[in-house]
Amino acid sequence: MTNDERMALIHAELDGDLSSQQRADLARLLLADPQMRALRDELKGLCSRLDAIGQVEPPPQLKDSILKRLPSVPVAPTYRKASFGRWRLAAMVAGLLMAGTIVYETVQGPAPGSRETAGTMAADAPTTVDSVALGGGSVTGRATLYRDKNGLAVGLEVSTAEPVDVLITSGGHSFRINALGSSEPPGHARQTVALPGVKMQGQDIELSLLVGERTLSRATLRAPAGP
């Protein structure tokens, strides 16, 4: 049994996640190895201390201070989980329209109105506002600022050797993507995040790639004043 496997058994015991077979394995290992026994006892003591920290009462005025600051409008308009689904839907609709156009033109021959069709298709599709390369440490990639009828969104495409957090700030708004690149297989990640509340007002949108508190790189997207 490797050291990692032994440690996993100890942590599983601390979490109360041991099967009866694992419990027997652990008991045998502990009996045979005093060092492992000491380590287990130290970690057990540590967890007891952590659990004993408990929770302190917040100040009594916290609730009222929150309720006082609630906006009068109860809930923002629906802007569901980033815009990944929306992009995918837009791409599917665009794909279907394009396939339809190709079939139609194959059957009917090129029609004079095909350019207008393309124009209509583009009206609701996301348009690229700005794009910037990302680089720093073991991360490379690109950030793109999009706009569609729902507002602004940032698309990120990165290659990274370790999961990175992305902090996006603009004006008083901040958005965070945790552990980009942590899904399996690791390395290449793509994600789009909607920026509700951020308008086209000629402002900068700052991006920071972070690993822990260490900033790997920064980049700026520009949202020019909209029409």
């Binding site: 440690m7 996993a8 942590h11 601390l14 979490d15 380590l39 130290e42 970690l43 003591g45 540590l46 967890c47 201390r49 952590l50 659990d51 004993a52 920290i53 408990g54 929770q55 302190v56 009462e57 917040p58 100040p59 916290l62 609730k63 201070s65 929150i66 309720l67 600051r69 609630l70 906006p71 109860p74 809930v75 923002a76 308009p77 629906t78 802007y79 569901r80 989980k81 999961p163 957090d165 902090l167 901040s174 965070r176 945790n178 552990a179 942590s182 899904s183 399996e184 509700p196 920071s208 972070l210 822990g212 508190e213 900033t215």
Partner: protein, 179 residues
Amino acid sequence: MKEEDDAALVLRCREGDRHAFEQLVIRYQKPVFNVALRMLRDRQDALDIAQTTFLKAFEHLADYDPAFRFYSWLYRIAINESLNALALRKPRGDLDANAADERPGPDRDAEGGQALQAIEDALMRLSPELRSAAILRHITQLSYENIAQALGLPEKTVKSRLHSARERLREHLLRDEVI
């Protein structure tokens, strides 16, 4: 049962019932405040984060996916806000590790006070990623599944972070001769 209650309250909030949101604030203000307090170890910052967390939750309630537990979503906002606050914080050297917790009187006077102080110091020496895993597990007592939802990570990654957190804490406390 409690989850059903949360879901019902969220539904009422979405229909514009502010009293329902007040119930959610009453229910979760303590753990949210404590998550922020342990992440930042600054009472005033923790208050600000707790307020911001609930305000953001209210403003974006339409974005909440009922497939997840409401409190996981709430903790996710609180953790993200705390991470943002830490990222924007100017380097303070050992200040974080030495900052006094403002827990009043009797708890701190007890015999275990010093040991508690030592473990709080050790928590602040962890990276924010490891610290958030340890806090959600040991302070708010969340399951791995709920921590994974709150941190937006696979359960496997959460386990790995929590194990690393415990082992680093053990090393710190051994060095300080607390255990």
